[in-house]
Amino acid sequence: MKTDQFLSELHAALEIKSLHSVNEKTCLKDLEEYDSMMILGIIAFVDEKFNKSLTTEQLNGITDFKSLMDLIGLENFD
């Protein structure tokens, strides 16, 4: 999946309204919408798009969207 496409689809899926768009350096925990529901949404999104199961514990350790992509595996991105 292209990185731009991933970030755009994730931005829409998580209903992030505080920012028009996100990039690799956007820090998740700085987002207004960051809460438990967002974490669960990320887990569901990654499961749906990459067939990969992440845990809340793993997501608690990430900082920006780049670290999320590292967790998913950079081989999954163009």
Binding site: A13, E15, S36, M37, I39, L40, G41, A44, T56, N60
Partner: protein, 262 residues
């Protein structure tokens, strides 16, 4: 009131009781309380053999006073309900009390809720208890003046983000209780549903693991009396199984530490 006095009030002497979800959580606590209340026969259903045995050990069943039967089965498998009914028929036991405590949860933002997740929750939490009840009644395995209890959830009454599927599945039991109570009243079979708040069990601990500490703390603050223990629900279930509750049917009984008082 002392424990012994309470147990005397909740005497289940000579009653035959079926409990699903008996190997953990609220079902386990109910099994223990029922076991101490002098029933004749108890059938405990669970998926996990080891944990079911631990429940039986903790219940203190005295072999010459009460017989305890184990049914190992997974209600996600289609054959389990007919297998359970056959099991009870083979025992030549007719039930005076049934408690449906087996259930699952899946915290999921609504936008990501798939039809499969919704279907799975509806199957285990709603269809299984209702269909099991239907098959037991159809096979004349429930005695007149029996007591049927569905363990629902306060989430079936009020809402919370991430709980749409769970709320639908548990809310369905509340509606089923009212209709079934009226339909079975001619046989004096009582049907009631309990809606607990957050009770600390393995299921809720798993849910908490998927939340931030701030979210868990927020949920705790919504319970004026704090989170519940399985025994808080079990004691009331035992009362509903007893003859002391003979005039209670079609009722939704909330045990939630004040959660829904807001």
């Amino acid at each position: 009131m002392g424990w012994k006095t309470l147990i005397n009030m909740l005497d289940l002497n000579e009653k035959n009781i079926l409990i699903t979800g008996a190997s953990s959580g609220i079902g386990r606590a109910i099994s223990i309380v029922v076991g101490k209340s002098s029933p004749s026969n108890v059938i405990l259903c669970g998926r996990d053999v080891r944990r079911l045995e631990e429940t039986i050990q903790a219940s203190g069943f005295i072999p010459d006073q009460a017989k305890c039967y184990r049914f190992i089965g997974d209600f996600s498998e289609g054959h389990t309900i007919p297998d359970l009914v056959s099991f009870i028929k083979d025992l030549r036991i007719s039930l005076d009390g049934i408690v449906f405590s087996a259930g699952i949860d899946k915290l999921m933002p609504f936008r990501f809720l798939s039809e499969k997740i919704l279907s799975d929750l509806l199957h285990i939490n709603t269809v299984v208890p209702v269909e099991t009840t239907r098959q037991l009644l159809k096979n004349n395995l429930v005695n007149p003046q029996g007591s049927i209890i569905f363990i629902s959830s306060i989430m079936g009454v009020v809402g919370q983000p991430g709980q749409v599927a769970y709320s639908i599945s548990k809310g369905g039991l509340i509606s089923a209780t009212k209709a079934l109570a009226l339909e079975l009243s001619k046989d004096k079979i009582r049907v009631n549903v309990i809606t607990p708040g957050i009770v600390i069990t393995d299921l809720t601990k798993k849910m908490f693991d998927s939340l931030t500490p701030e979210s868990v703390d927020e949920i705790r603050k919504m319970h004026p009396l704090g989170f519940g223990k399985p025994e808080d629900v079990a004691n009331f279930v035992s009362f509903l199984l007893s003859d002391q509750a003979s005039w209670i049917t079609g009722s939704t009984l909330t045990i939630d530490g004040g959660y829904s008082a807001h």
